[in-house]
């Protein structure tokens, strides 16, 4: 406390001084965290945006050269479109990512809800079940990608074997090698890996519903089916929305699993994989940065919708 109460209204002065010094302390406590965030998020983001307006090839150019919006939209005199938004590969990666996101998020939500309802019911061994469900979640993504890579292997993969026995696949074929089913095969891996996370979030939501509401419903003679639609689902909606949006954002930026399983294959390339391919493998820092900025904008639009529609508030 720096101020001494000399005024005629000492109490007011004192709280004001207290408030000012508390604010100073708060700022000092925040500075280290803010500096690091600025260094790893703020500055690199601005630099990426800047590079997206330049014709920078990290191997050939000494310094970035400003070319305005050329990386986004540029048509040569011969009529060839070179900008990201004119590139079929970009739109292919967007389309793949959208299909991947819609497929995996819907399946994960339905299955996750089913898992959560099972664990939440009063059965023996539900502790064990909940633990078992955590196993895929705890396995690193890279590891789960390799495990499924092995199970999908065309000659020795157990899933390919089952597919061939059941007649879904020809001999020596796998769900991954077939371009028509490759993306669906990746969705299956993501569903396996992430449904448990979904189930845990929904389980937390289920456990906030007071049990006496179900008792009342029982007394009124409501069937389990009616109870689910009229009671469980409406009360679970907030938790469900949060989980849905988290999963959607994760799926939109997916990189590691599809990259390890299928590399840069056109039928499964996602937005993030395409961006890294241009940035690092082709050293096209300007063009690649423009792709990154597009991905950033897409994610931020989703986040803005999420924050406003759920009316997220902080005090």
């Amino acid at each position: 406390m720096t101020t001494t109460p000399t005024s005629t209204r000492p109490a007011v002065r004192r709280t004001r001084g207290l408030h000012a010094s508390r604010t100073r302390v708060a700022l000092l406590l925040l500075v280290p965290m803010l500096l690091v965030l600025a260094a790893v998020a703020g500055y690199p983001l601005l630099r990426t945006i800047y590079l997206s307006f330049t014709d920078y090839n990290i191997l050939q150019d000494p310094a970035p050269k400003w070319i305005g919006l050329g990386n986004y939209w540029f048509t040569t005199p011969e009529g060839v479109g070179l900008g990201v938004l004119q590139t079929p590969e970009w739109w292919q990666s967007v389309w793949n990512t959208v299909k991947f996101t819609v497929g995996s998020v819907i399946l994960e939500t339905v299955l996750g809800l089913a898992f959560a309802l099972i664990i939440n019911s009063k059965i023996k061994g539900r502790g064990f079940l909940r633990t078992a469900i955590l196993v895929p979640w705890a396995i690193p993504t890279v590891v789960s990608a390799q495990m499924w890579n092995w199970m999908y292997n065309d000659s020795f993969g157990v899933i390919s074997q089952w597919g061939q026995k059941l007649g879904f696949l020809h001999t020596g074929e796998s769900f991954l090698s077939n371009p028509d089913t490759a993306l669906a095969a990746l969705v299956a891996v993501d569903v396996w890996k992430t449904t448990p996370f979904m189930a845990l979030l929904l389980l937390a939501g289920l456990q906030t519903i007071p049990s006496d509401m179900y008792e009342a419903a029982d007394v009124d003679g409501a069937s389990p089916w009616t109870q689910f639609w009229r009671l469980t689902l409406p009360l679970l909606t907030p938790a469900l929305l949060v989980a849905l949006i988290f999963r959607t954002l994760d799926a939109l930026r997916v990189f590691d699993m599809p990259y390890i399983v299928k590399g840069n294959a056109p039928e499964t390339i996602t937005m993030s994989i395409y961006a890294r391919q241009q940035l690092i493998l082709n050293s096209q820092f300007g063009f690649g940065s423009a792709i990154s900025v597009m991905i950033f904008l897409i994610i931020m639009v989703f986040t803005a919708i999420y924050v406003t529609s759920l009316r997220v508030k902080f005090d």
Partner: protein
């Protein structure tokens, strides 16, 4: 399941347990298959790839992973990088969470929005900016470069979760310390942190798992085994010849990095569930 008819009740129960068994199989089978493959020697792999049990279980793959590959070095890199990331994140976020959880000041909600925004940053959006920065500061292919870049996803998460915990600590505790003349830092480290220990363990563990599993930055910011972490190593494991993928070894390496995580998860199961949901639902 409240039907009066015993036959219907038994039937419902059977169907229910069938569903439970299917779920269990679905969740655990890939892990079992990896475990089984890791104990199948390279010579038997092609013959026994589809059998349910290895006929000659062997440690061969586990020995090969360490003898033929620099996997020990990769493990060391991962341990150092993940631990460093967690310690640094926890320190920075403990300070920040104290300010955000217990102090009132202008612009706090704007700050919370910014932190939330960073936590949904697609890593790819900062990749080129970070890459040039890391090259400039000679952090390429070093532990420090990875630790620094991992802050982008661990820090918003730890700040967010710890702030939620700090808010729930009774204010009387802090006031008492203040009356006794403790400085803010003394209050934080001697009064609040001991109360926060469970939160720190939970948050640190989740941050550790995320850092341990990170792939994109580790792949992009390392060039050889000086700093290459386990996920990168497992991601592009190569065999003695280019014609075969050494799946026995890949599965052995996978099991090695997964077992510690599963043990951690089993031990801290309850904390993890509460930590995940605290971070997520509050978000």
């Amino acid at each position: 399941m409240n039907s009066k008819n015993p036959a219907v009740r038994t039937l419902t129960l059977i169907v229910f347990w069938l569903v439970v068994l299917i779920v269990l199989f679905y969740v655990l089978f890939p892990f079992y298959w990896a475990l089984k493959t890791s104990f199948t020697g390279p010579a038997q792999l092609s013959a026994e790839a589809l059998q349910w049990f290895p006929s000659n279980p062997t440690w061969q793959n586990f020995r090969d992973v360490f003898a033929g590959q620099p996997f020990g070095r990769n493990l060391l890199n991962s341990v150092v990088v993940a631990t460093g990331t967690v310690l640094l994140s926890l320190l920075l976020s403990a300070l920040a969470a104290y300010a955000l959880g217990k102090f009132r000041f202008q612009g706090k909600s704007v700050l919370m929005y910014i932190i939330l925004a960073v936590s949904v940053f697609p890593q790819i959006a900062v990749l080129s900016g970070l890459y040039t920065m890391i090259k400039t500061f000679s952090l390429y292919n070093t532990w420090g470069g990875l630790i620094l870049s991992y802050m982008i996803f661990t820090l918003p998460f730890t700040v967010w979760t710890l702030t939620a915990f700090v808010r729930e600590i009774p204010t009387e505790l802090e006031e008492a310390a203040y009356v006794d003349g403790a400085s803010p830092l003394q209050t934080l480290f001697q009064v609040l942190l001991p109360v926060m220990t469970p939160a720190l363990v939970t948050t640190g563990l989740l941050a550790f798992i995320n850092a341990w599993n990170e792939y994109l930055f580790a792949l992009t910011f390392t060039s050889d085994n000086t700093a290459k972490t386990v996920p990168v190593a497992i991601g592009n494991f190569s065999g003695a010849t280019i014609y075969e993928n050494p799946f026995g070894q890949i599965m052995a390496a996978s099991v090695i990095v997964t077992i510690p995580l599963i043990v951690l998860v089993l031990v801290f199961q309850r904390n993890i569930v509460s930590g995940l949901t605290a971070g997520a639902v509050k978000g």
